[in-house]
């Protein structure tokens, strides 16, 4: 594919298509709408399906139905729309249905500041739906990476049979960059049953990687899928043992692959005395701030979370052992900072912004200077 | 007898629907609340009992009159 100018949101649509997504259900909401608009054009060209649903809940429902019938699926929303989707994100988690949910974050709570950037949905991405559940959350910082991370999100959804949240923001979603995208990427195929019904197939029997090989509908397996806690047959069970094991496996299928899933972009860490932690659109400003600080002779490192959840516990802890302080640039009242504080073995400082504008490099630089002074 | 009954008593919940809608009072509930055939001789093989049993506990098959040629 030749280089062309495109938005982060369009790159997500391109990534979805190349990763094999053939079904999108959605509802219009700024600043995510371009994803739906792009896929409305692109999907029918490849025989896929785009449907605009009556609300955000239905958008989740329709993609989950399509996923169960064998399609790779994606939906996208923002702010209030993501709040509405939470019910069925939990369903996808419980019933282990592959789905990618793109959240182009805007200022909240509630209607908040539509179209204005924020990264205030971090903890919602992890814990938005009720109950103990596992989830994967990824965030890109550029248009090119929006494409790549979308492919990764689709592959993770399929491989782990889990909802994956692509937690982007208005900054990256509406950013325009000249990018050259590959026509082909590595695609994880839909998992398939390894034994027949006659051989005693049970849809929720986990494979060696703890992920079940659930048959698609219409393949003769007569499976039952429910949001109730179920045993390996897929049917509900009122047993404490089944409940415990189901919830435990749901977490462990992802946590045991953590080393592979967790992706942290690190720069200037060899000589760093302090470092800035950030993700998504904010990382673009943080990077500039780190470069500027280094020009002034400060030994500052750059840590960018591409995988937000599972959180980079081990990596942050290890890095923090050699640091005098960590600065967390949170485009919110302070969310990532709590995760960093939980694992860091050095002082942690928060640089928070929640006024509907993005960080200026000077703001982060000023916080770097303060941190350096505090930990001297 | 015009009919043959198959009762799956493990399914019967004793709701009494079959008893009430039987036009000939063939059926009744026993002391444990399960259906039994009380007056088989009155059965006209209409099948109303099976038709409305919500629990698939009672099945009625018509007995075809024996053909004369067989004798």
């Amino acid at each position: 594919m030749s280089a062309r100018l495109m938005q982060g949101n369009e790159a997500i649509a391109e990534g979805a298509l190349v990763a094999g997504v053939r079904f999108f259900g959605g509802y219009p909401i700024t600043p995510s709408t371009e994803i739906a608009e792009s896929l409305a054009k692109m999907l029918p060209k490849v025989g896929g399906t785009f449907i605009q649903m009556e609300d955000e809940i239905a958008s989740m429902g329709v993609v989950l139905g399509a996923s169960l019938a064998g399609r790779k699926v994606l939906t996208a929303s923002s702010g209030p729309g993501i709040s509405l989707k939470q019910e069925l994100i939990g369903y996808a988690s419980a019933a282990e249905i592959p789905v990618v949910i793109v959240n182009v974050q805007r200022v909240g709570p509630s209607t908040g500041q539509p179209t204005a950037p924020s990264q205030g949905d971090v903890m919602q991405a992890r814990w938005g739906t009720h109950g103990d559940h596992s989830i994967i959350v990824l965030s890109p910082w550029s248009v090119r990476e929006a494409f790549e991370v979308t492919v990764r999100a689709v592959n993770y959804a399929e491989r782990f049979r889990t909802p994956v949240i692509l937690l982007t923001d208005e900054i990256v979603g509406h950013l325009r960059e000249n990018v050259e995208l590959p026509d082909k990427v590595k695609v994880y195929p839909r998992r398939a049953p390894k034994i027949s019904r006659a051989e005693g197939y049970e849809p929720y029997t986990p494979d060696e990687d703890l992920v079940p090989n659930i048959a698609n509908f219409g393949e003769g397996y007569h499976i039952h899928v429910t949001g109730l806690i179920h045993d390996e047959t897929g049917f509900p069970s009122g047993s404490p043992k089944v409940t415990r094991e189901a919830i435990k496996r749901m977490h462990e299928k992802i946590s045991r692959a953590e080393d592979e899933i967790v992706d942290v972009h690190r720069e200037f860490m060899d000589d760093a005395e302090v470092a800035v932690v950030s993700f998504g659109g904010t990382s673009r400003t943080a990077y500039e701030a780190v470069l500027n600080a280094r020009k002034r002779g400060l030994k500052v490192g750059f840590i960018r979370l591409v995988t937000i959840f599972p959180f980079a516990d081990k990596i942050i802890r290890e890095l923090s052992k050699n640091l005098r302080g960590l600065l967390v640039a949170d485009l919110n009242f302070g969310q990532i900072v709590n995760e960093v504080e939980r694992v860091a073995e050095c002082p942690v400082k928060l640089c928070a912004k929640y006024d509907m504008t993005i960080f200026e490099p000077e703001e982060i630089e000023k916080s770097i200077d303060e941190l350096v002074a505090e930990v001297k | 007898m015009k009919s043959e009954f198959t009762l799956k008593l493990e399914r019967c919940k004793g709701c009494g629907i079959c008893v009430t809608f039987c036009p000939k009072q063939v059926l009744a509930l026993d002391t444990l609340g399960k259906v039994y055939v009380a007056h088989h001789e009155n059965c006209i093989a209409c099948g109303q009992c099976e038709l409305r049993c919500p629990d698939y506990a009672i099945f009625m098959d018509k007995i075809k009159p024996a053909k004369e040629a067989a004798s």
């Binding site: 025989g47 009556e54 007569h222 | 919940k13 008893v19």
Partner: protein, 274 residues
Amino acid sequence: MRSYEKFFRRNRLPHRWFPGCGNGIVMKAIVQAIEKNPAFTQDNTVIVSGIGCSSRASGYMDFDTLHTAHGRAIPFATGIKLARPELNVVVITGDGDCTAIGGNHFIHGCRRNVDLTVVLFNNNIYGMTGGQASPMTPLGKKATTAPYGSVDRPFDACKLAEAAGATYVARSTAFHVQHLVKTIEDGLSNRGFSFIEALVQCPTAYGRRNKMGDPAKMMAWMRDNAVMKTAWDKLPDDKKIGEKFPIGLFYRAQEQDYDAAYQQVIDIAGGAAK
């Protein structure tokens, strides 16, 4: 064993509906209707349900079955149908599931004319949670949340479906079993959104509170008050009184279903085969 019993997961029977509950009658009517349609097999039919007493049915039926979240059966079913149009998709729902929490999905499913057959088990109450008023609880009837009688005007789900664009709309009852089977059978053969309201008795959470007597008395009430549509239309307004209500086919139309409509989009866009 009756031939339709092959459509049940017999190891899961007896079902757990209360004694005299009409849900079992309608569930049997659905599989009998499926049995009569040679295009429907156990391998190409998907049963989708919401949450509530009626929605337990999916677990008892031997097909690919999907027990979704409360009110959400129709969006899930829409996704299945559009992803694999060759599958037959039947939705089982209840009055609360379909017309309260799922009301929006219901009317939009009708509007799109997605090729689904939706069977609403109308027991006039939230049974599973113990008898709260639903949008289909008749005026004046008692519920735990309407202890002095319901003042909320109820939906006529059939009128709602017709107005919203469903292409097959009919009502029957747990008493009128043969009619019910035929009604569902016709709904299954309609290519488009088919809606069947099946009145069922809930002796435990509705009938008892409203002094309607035992299960058989509640079914006798259906027998005595249901009027076939053709007869109903001839009744003068002053005879459409008391608790009388019409059953039968209310609406039927030939309209393009959603999958066929979207296939045109694919053709215009120059799309490859799926």
